[in-house]
Point group: C2
Chain length 371, copies 2
Amino acid sequence: MNTRRSFLQKLSAAAITFPLISFEDCTNADQAGSKTYDGPVLRVAIMGLGGYGTRVADAMVDCKKAKLVGVISGTPSKVKAWQAKYNIPDKNCYNYENFDAISKNPDIDAVYIITPNSLHHPQALRVAKAGKHVICEKPMALNAKEGQEMVDACKKANVKLLVGYRMHFEPKTLEVVRMRMDGELGKILFFQGLSGFRIGDPTQWRLNKQLAGGGSMMDIGIYSINGARYMVGEEPVWVTAQESKTDPVKFKEGVDETIQFQLGFPSGAVASCLSTYSMNGLDKFYLNGVNGFAEMQPSTGYGPIKGRTHKGELTQPHATHQTVQMEEFAAIILEGRKPVIPVDGEEGLRDLRIIDAIYEACKTGKKIELR
Amino acid sequence: MNTRRSFLQKLSAAAITFPLISFEDCTNADQAGSKTYDGPVLRVAIMGLGGYGTRVADAMVDCKKAKLVGVISGTPSKVKAWQAKYNIPDKNCYNYENFDAISKNPDIDAVYIITPNSLHHPQALRVAKAGKHVICEKPMALNAKEGQEMVDACKKANVKLLVGYRMHFEPKTLEVVRMRMDGELGKILFFQGLSGFRIGDPTQWRLNKQLAGGGSMMDIGIYSINGARYMVGEEPVWVTAQESKTDPVKFKEGVDETIQFQLGFPSGAVASCLSTYSMNGLDKFYLNGVNGFAEMQPSTGYGPIKGRTHKGELTQPHATHQTVQMEEFAAIILEGRKPVIPVDGEEGLRDLRIIDAIYEACKTGKKIELR
């Protein structure tokens, strides 16, 4: 029987849980504030006070299990502003030179790295060495080799490594995953992911190969890679990919503008995906199974996700992704909670292996076999 | 100014016309019957009285410029039934042995070939030799070589060769093409076509390599190929493709179950397409331009097409595709009308060249350059 109960039984057997609590607790500050919570709290420092760092900080105001307590930044004026806004004490403020000293700070449990991609690897190694849990924005690193080193370093330091896969807790996404796991879609045949937007300011770090490690694939294409994996529920065994560029001035050597890529899975299911920095609002997932389908658009944006399946509209309520993510990350670190879709370093590594293969496929024109 | 007028001016300059009349005249029999028409009529014999042949015959009842007057079939009982249903005289009935004698029949102008794919080529050559206009269901032939021979034969015989591209007259499709031609979508960046259905009876000719010449690509994938071309408005310069098979019993050697293929266009636009015989109801087009988009679902089915653009829902009325097609084909043959999207042998040939390249790309794993 494909019932919610059978699904929950499976989950229970696997010791994984849906973040049901969070959706109730984290929808707004008033609600969170009105409840008493005296359990353990994950005390987080954010490294990198840019646009996304600010988004995470604002979202964390509504968390009860996670709390922003520190900052790491190279810009003193930003540190000051954040201290004022989030009530952060001087002793929890660091810069990129001195943050190794965080090892001696008993009031910080974890560091959320939200810096340009190429910095994730060296910074994560330093945070791990400092004995703090590492939360890292995606892509976790520039390639699988770096990613593996991060996984190894965190293991050695006995700290957790979590990657900022906010969609792994998004209610409509999880409902589709539940349907797939419960067999409601039947055998999965096809996934399509279109991930892209038209990138603005040509001087931003995302268009700098040294800092970004690539182009659209590292930033937005990774959503289709990751989505293909959690939607299909398998790991791909082959990759093909084709790069195309219409603006070689804006998108320099090594910065991919548009890449189409295809994945083949052990079951015979295939995925067809697009990653682009030159098309507006491309944010669609489509999953096709023998007995049904799911389509989501937008599928990974910050705002409410919209979607439908063969059973009808998806109606699960929206909650701020970053709030739920941080609440769940705290539960994973503090309570050993296991999410339905992994968010650990190994998960980040799986995406990086595929990114490596995609870039190799673009370069060689060959089908790349994955182990 | 991107107005309807400017678009019509362009059309007028190009001596092409939208089938505006047909939509009014061909929606139902009563309407057609209530109008007097005393212009020239294209007298058509249908070759191949199967499911699609029947659909065309029924649709032609509502035409005024085209009339079903003859049949060519290997099954006498079918011939009898059609004679009764469509009032076809004995002298206009042929079988596959004797239909060359159609050359001596002054009451038939054209033959619509609606037989298994592999028969199109030899039959078209015979029809051309008999001096009758050739209308051929798609795919026009099994490969570009055969297609070229058909084009040459019809040219030599001084008869027209038209291919059954019914979507080329579909009002919502034409509105999107108009928007693209008028610049309303801006520079075109991406087309996505998903074409497929779950094929039933494993004994049907469509799953027989000898008769079908391939699998899903020859039957339904061609819609995405053709759609990519008329939606993007360019001819592709490269093709990559990946075949996958989950049921090698049903889909034997040379009969493709699922093929993903990608096209690159001179402007830098790319297309990502899927052709499959194993997924239900996959019938989606998506066109992305710098200034807008269009999406259609269903995009090529017989029923009403549905779609929307950045400007809103497409509301052009549905008319039976086959009725409009035959009315337009008659106008092309009898009045020299030029359709917005070509339907001649050269058009069919362009799709066949791409099909050849797709099969080659699947076999070699290589990117195939198209002249």
